[in-house]
Symmetry: C2
Subunit: 159 residues, 2 copies
DNA sequence: TATTGTTATACTCTATAACTATA
DNA sequence: TATAGTTATAGAGTATAACAATA
């Protein structure tokens, strides 16, 4: 079933054949996601925040009193890997830990004012980044893209 | 502009608030891409191929005689990082190196029959994986998704 | 026994700097 | 000088195993 690959007549530089990959939606999904992540990194760089620490901080801001284990479950982090992330966010004064009166194993995490302000600033920059990322798309195209992407990643719910 | 975050009335486990992230197309782009990559890894696992080595091999199969540097430019790899990938593919007998008579610095890379057969098998599995990934989408929705994703990652061409 | 927070560790992927040989 | 292939190395990100305290 192997397609017969005849010798290629020397493509111009930068014009290599990519037939199969270009056919796959997954290929374009990956390239778009890479561009998104690079833009996110650039947008957050001057705030000394990367994507995962920001999502941790955002979880604390949107869910005051949440525990580290719950954050890990919500965003798919291993418990071991959130420790250093929390240590740095705490050292920067972005949240506080408080003992849970109902369960002495858990620490309840609360954002500080500084943490909430930094989060708000970061989210503004993410919005600007997204506007730039999607500048070639109309408003209805953006909505359609989001709708289709949700169907893609939620497709494993019925598995 | 910081949205006032009132204390949350204790969400059920697994129901943490994710308002802002869920609004971003980039969030759904990332989750869809993660599901795609996990499915790809699973689909290729029994062939002992991962995504990047496969794309390198595919470049050789589709562009016989291509150089390592040209592969790197085409798929965004650093030259240093293709060395071990090529070493393993070569050890498995999937391609051969040949001196370039026009430039003694470059090695021209040619797929072996085994390399072409393994690539064909891998591409079949990728196709099956993609069908599963997109099973919630109609044919026209898949075409529309690909079109929109191309506009997203190609949006940096005019920068 | 199960869970929380934690340490230690390892593996993958990616990034940079420097070398050599050729052009 | 610029490029091809290479080596060494460092940094993220992510993975598992094990521990003490608590439920």
């Amino acid at each position: 079933m192997a397609a017969p690959h005849k010798t290629v007549p020397k493509p111009e530089p930068g014009e290599e054949r990519l037939e199969f990959l270009a056919d796959l939606v997954g290929y374009h999904l990956r390239r778009a996601s890479i561009r998104d992540m690079q833009g996110m990194s650039a947008a957050l760089e001057s705030l000394s925040l990367r994507a995962v620490p920001l999502s941790v901080l955002l979880m604390i801001v949107e869910n005051p009193g949440i525990s580290a284990a719950d954050i890990c479950r919500a965003i798919g982090l291993k418990r071991a890997n959130i420790v250093s992330i929390l240590a740095e966010l705490e050292q920067r004064g972005l949240f506080l830990r408080e003992a849970d009166p109902n369960d002495n194993r858990v620490q309840k995490l609360f954002p500080t004012r500084t943490g909430k302000e930094l989060t708000a600033e970061a989210l503004e920059r993410l919005k600007d980044h997204e506007d730039h990322l999607l500048c070639a798309l109309s408003g209805s195209e953006r909505a359609e893209l989001r709708r289709l992407l949700m169907k893609v990643w939620q497709g494993d719910e019925g598995d």
